[in-house]
């Protein structure tokens, strides 16, 4: 019985993420538009886009290989699995122990790996631009992320996200320097990973500046839909990650009753709204940086993470 | 009866080569003389082997004990295989007209004379006699080095002769000094030069005289061993003489001189008051090793290169014996045996290489493994062995030398290892350009007999993997003898 319930909750959480992802993207867009004094597209615009895309026929480049066609599914699967392991409104999800934070990052890494390959598959110059830049960004963002993870793991004594969240909610986590550093690092990484301003601009198709868009340039139809969906999922994933680590309140523990679960869900939605708003504010208030400033930006993130870890190593009180 | 047999065995070592020398000097006809040469060396080898079974009692002039029977067997064996090799080699030289029949006759006679001299030097129980024999060996080799009568050959022989005679003079003075040291104790006359007597009484000798004597003997016989800085004659003599002689020089004559040195080392070691001979030998050994290792880099003549490698290995052996102790001595003996076999095998290969390429310049050789696979791989195997890599015998001896030294004198071991590495790098640097890469230079055909070369290498290989217990016991015995 309990197993079935857990199974349902796990499944429910997965579906919830799937449903929320486009909405969240739409929300951020709307917010940005509003901040820029624009009307902006309706909240459900992303859903419309997805539907429209999936209706269209796929125009596949001549040189595209099977890898090109399977990549969207792989990317989607990896991202979705990663996302489904993040406690959103309830910790100790059924399968949460099957992969810890490091594994989640690695899953996202594999998604990136394949999408970068897809960028090279057709053999166009723009795909190459995207892939090479993505590789460079990733090669700095990932270690930074790992360092952040180290910090958190050393604070919480676990890489298991549920336990981390539990620990964060618990009183014995005071204000810590390392925690602050980790927060900064994580935010910077999140921006880079999701290709947001100032690293990349999801709205642009200006050839010389785009990164993520360049890789998926050749995709169309249902493939593109899947890619867009996974991008949205990834964004949601990072926001929920930040939420469950740094705003761990009202994440219900195992065996919580239905109403408390509902409360947890609402709390989660609230956190998302806050996160989306902050993101919009940040994006509107800052300009995109040149691609070759990015290493400095991410290098800073890496340094923050390393510093945090060092502090933790040197003394448990930081 | 049995005494008679053994006496014949011992006398045979001397008589057979002597008679053969006379015959070969008289008999015409290349085929016949070559065969006779081989036959004589074969008989000598048989005599040497017979020493295992019956060992004659030491007389005032001749002596056979564990130490020198090691050398005798080695000498006669390599002498035999080299005779085999020289049969095919000299034949080719006749065809190409580098040698004329009279010179070939002279060559064969000298070869046997050399064998005689070396055997005599080894089994002599009388230090004076030993000196005479080594002197004789030197002179014969001088003549053979000069046999081609080219500018280079004459110069090499002349150089060899002058340096050799100076060395021999020093050695004689040393011998006289030993006699002087012995006389007050042993009394005048023959006994004072009989080694077996000396070694038993030497603790009563005057240490100062012994020290002085050893200095002269070290320099005198050290010249023959080719230790730096007395080595100068060695490379040229190897490079300019006929290859069989190079093989014999490296494989045997150096050993014989070293053997003489060892005898006197034992004499000194038996006298507590005298200065320890070890440090001197260690110093000279390391000096030769490192010096030769660096000299290897600039060599362009293949035979001269391997001559330097002989210096290097003589350095190692002298070092090992200088270190002393059962382990190091064993290693030294093993290394000496392996080096004789390997180096002569290498010279067999080199001789044929020089013949097929028509030159000794390394620059004119290349891709040997393509043009002459057997010869090329034989040479590679030889170099691998001489560089001290497994599975061949020298690896074992070097393992023993280095590891036994490192425990006792780490710094010396470091120098030793350094020298070994430098030498290996140099050898393979040259080997690569000889054996690999695009084939270069002319490639004539050769009707070479590879039997001697591969026989030696097979022995070395076997020694690297498995040493027969009998041999081991024997060597250990000798090692104890050497103290």
């Amino acid at each position: 019985m309990a197993l079935i319930r857990d199974l349902l909750i796990q499944g429910g959480q997965m579906l919830l993420l799937l449903v929320l992802a486009p909405l969240f993207t739409g929300f951020v867009r709307k917010m940005k538009a509003r901040l820029q004094r624009r009307q902006g597209p309706p909240l459900i615009q992303p859903y419309r886009d997805l539907v429209r895309l999936s209706r269209k026929e796929v125009v596949l480049a001549d040189q595209a290989s099977w890898l090109f066609r399977t990549t969207p599914y792989l990317v989607f699967a990896a991202t979705w699995v990663a996302a489904s392991l993040i406690p959103t409104f309830r910790i100790d999800l059924l399968f949460s122990w099957s992969a810890d934070l490091i594994a989640i990052i690695a899953l996202l890494g594999s998604a990136r790996f394949f999408i970068a390959l897809a960028g090279l598959d057709v053999g166009t110059s723009f795909g190459g631009i995207g892939s090479s830049r993505e590789a460079m960004i990733a090669s700095l963002a990932e270690p930074a992320m790992i360092m952040v993870v180290f910090t958190l793991a050393l604070i919480a004594g676990s890489t298991q996200l549920s336990n981390v969240a539990e620990f964060m909610a618990s009183p014995q986590v005071g204000l810590r320097v390392s925690l602050g550093l980790a927060l900064f690092g994580l935010v910077m990484v999140a921006l880079a990973e999701n290709g947001r301003v100032p690293i990349d601009n999801p709205a642009t198709h200006l050839e010389l500046t785009m990164v993520h868009e360049a890789m998926v340039l050749e995709y169309s139809g249902r493939h593109l839909a899947l890619i867009e969906l996974s991008a949205a999922l990834k964004l949601l994933l990072y926001v929920s990650l930040l939420a469950c680590i740094f705003l761990p309140w009202d994440i219900e523990s195992a065996g919580a009753s239905a109403p408390t679960l509902a409360l947890g869900i609402f709390a989660y939605l609230g956190k998302l709204a806050l996160g989306g708003f902050l993101l919009a504010v940040f994006e509107t208030s800052i300009a995109k940086m040149r691609v070759f400033r990015v290493p400095e930006f991410l290098g800073a993130a890496l340094m923050l993470g390393l510093l945090a870890t060092l502090l933790r190593f040197v003394s448990a009180s930081f | 009866m049995s005494d008679a047999v053994t006496f014949n065995a011992m006398a045979g070592l001397l008589a057979i080569p002597a008679v053969a020398a006379v015959l070969l000097a008289l008999l015409p006809g290349y085929r016949l003389t070559a065969r006779l040469n081989v036959l004589a060396t074969a008989l000598t080898l048989v005599c040497a082997l017979s020493l295992f079974f019956r060992r004659p009692a030491p007389g005032p002039y001749l002596l056979v004990d564990d130490l020198n029977s090691t050398f005798v067997v080695l000498t006669t064996f390599v002498g035999f295989t080299t005779a085999l090799f020289s049969a095919s080699y000299i034949g080719h030289e006749l065809e190409t007209g580098r040698l004329t029949p009279p010179f070939v006759r002279f060559y064969h006679a000298m070869y046997q004379l050399l064998m005689f001299a070396m055997n005599l030097a080894l089994i002599a129980n009388n230090i004076g006699l030993m000196w005479v024999a080594i002197e004789l060996a030197t002179l014969t080799t001088v003549l053979m080095v000069g046999i081609y009568r080219t500018h280079e050959a004459l110069e090499a022989a002349w150089k060899y002769f002058i340096l050799g005679s100076v060395g021999i003079a020093l050695a004689l003075f040393g011998t006289i000094l030993v006699y002087m040291a012995a006389r007050p104790v042993v009394g005048e006359g023959l006994d004072a030069m009989v080694w077996t007597v000396l070694v038993t009484r030497s603790r009563e000798f005057d240490p100062a005289l012994l020290d002085l004597a050893f200095v002269f003997l070290l320099l005198g016989y050290g010249t023959k061993v080719g230790l730096a800085p007395l080595h100068a004659w060695l490379p040229d003599a190897h490079a300019e003489g006929p290859t069989p002689i190079s093989a014999v020089l490296s494989g045997l004559l150096l050993n014989v001189a070293l053997y003489a040195l060892l005898r006197f080392k034992m004499l000194l070691a038996a006298n507590p008051a005298a200065l320890a001979p070890g440090p001197l030998m260690v110093t000279l050994g390391l000096l030769s090793l490192v010096f030769a290792a660096f000299m290897l880099y600039r060599r362009r003549d293949i035979k001269r290169m391997f001559a330097y490698s002989s210096i290097e290995h003589m350095g190692i052996i002298t070092f090992a014996f200088g270190m002393g102790g059962p382990l190091a001595n064993f290693a030294g003996l093993l290394h000496m045996t392996m080096h004789s076999l390997t180096k002569s095998a290498i010279f067999f290969a080199v001789g044929h290489v020089a013949q097929v390429k028509g030159t000794q310049r390394i620059a004119d050789m290349g891709g040997l493994t393509e043009t002459h696979p057997v010869l090329g791989w034989g040479l590679i195997l030889g170099v691998v062995a001489i560089a001290g890599l497994p599975p061949l015998g020298i690896f074992m001896s070097e393992f023993l030398v280095v590891s036994s030294t490192f425990a006792r004198a780490p710094l010396l071991a470091l120098v030793l290892v350094f020298g070994l590495l430098v030498a290996l790098a140099a050898l393979f640097l040259r080997l690569n350009s000889i054996a690999f890469g695009e084939p270069r230079g002319p490639n004539g055909k050769t009707d070479a007999s590879y039997v001697p070369m591969f026989a030696h290498l097979a022995l070395v290989l076997m020694a690297g993997i498995y040493l027969p217990p009998a041999l081991v016991a024997w060597f250990e015995n000798v090692a104890k003898l050497l103290g």
Partner: protein, 220 residues
């Protein structure tokens, strides 16, 4: 042995050293050969004296050999040779005489020092003799080192050998084998050198070793 005999032996040995110095001093081949003859003569005398003192008749043979071969035959032959080669008037461009002499003196001193370490038990004659012999040997070697001309090098070598003979004869009761070997070696030495000079002359017009060095196997 009585003082007088000792003194004479000592005197002869010492004079041998002196003659070695004369050799070092000479820079003309011709004169050099003459001095060498003198050297051999003194040697013969001292060997003979030793024979008389030790009443060891076989030593007279050695003396005779020294007299005949070294004092007469070899110098004459070498005279002939250098005349034939036209180098008898040649003046050695050797290292300056002064330093050579000084080195020589140093060597003599060295050999004395080394010998005096020998304990007193060994009979004094032998000790002194050995000291002189050693100095003769070293001087001969020095000569070989400082001379460029092959003939004078050979002369140096032979005076070195004289030193050996002196030592051997000084060694009381040393078996016959040694004299034979010495004579033997001198003989062989001379023959082979002769052969070589002959061959070398037939190759090059001079026996100056530097000419030989020109034909070295490998040049850089």
């Amino acid at each position: 042995m009585h003082g007088i005999e000792f003194d004479i032996a000592h005197l002869l040995a010492g004079s041998l050293v002196l003659v070695s110095f004369l050799e070092l001093y000479q820079d003309r081949l011709y004169a050099l050969l003459n001095v060498y003859a003198l050297h051999a003569l003194v040697l013969a005398a001292s060997v003979a004296w030793q024979a008389f003192v030790q009443d060891a008749p076989h030593l007279y043979i050695t003396a005779a050999i020294a007299l005949v071969f070294k004092a007469i035959v070899i110098p004459v032959a070498l005279h002939r040779m250098i005349v034939r080669l036209g180098i008898h008037r040649e003046i050695e461009k050797a290292i300056g005489v002064g330093p050579v002499m000084l080195t020589g003196i140093g060597l003599v001193a060295l050999s004395m020092v080394v010998m005096l370490r020998v304990t007193q038990e060994a009979d004094p004659l032998a000790r002194e003799d050995l000291a002189f012999a050693l100095s003769v040997i070293l001087l001969g070697l020095l000569m070989m080192v400082t001379r460029r001309n092959a003939v004078s090098q050979v002369v140096g070598f032979m005076s070195l050998e004289n030193g050996l003979v002196l030592a051997a004869t000084g060694a009381k009761g040393m078996p016959l084998v040694v004299e034979i070997s010495v004579a033997f070696s001198v003989l062989i030495a001379f023959i082979v050198i002769g052969i070589f000079l002959f061959r070398i002359r037939e190759r090059f017009d001079t026996v100056d070793v530097q000419a030989l060095d020109r034909f070295r196997g490998e040049r850089r």
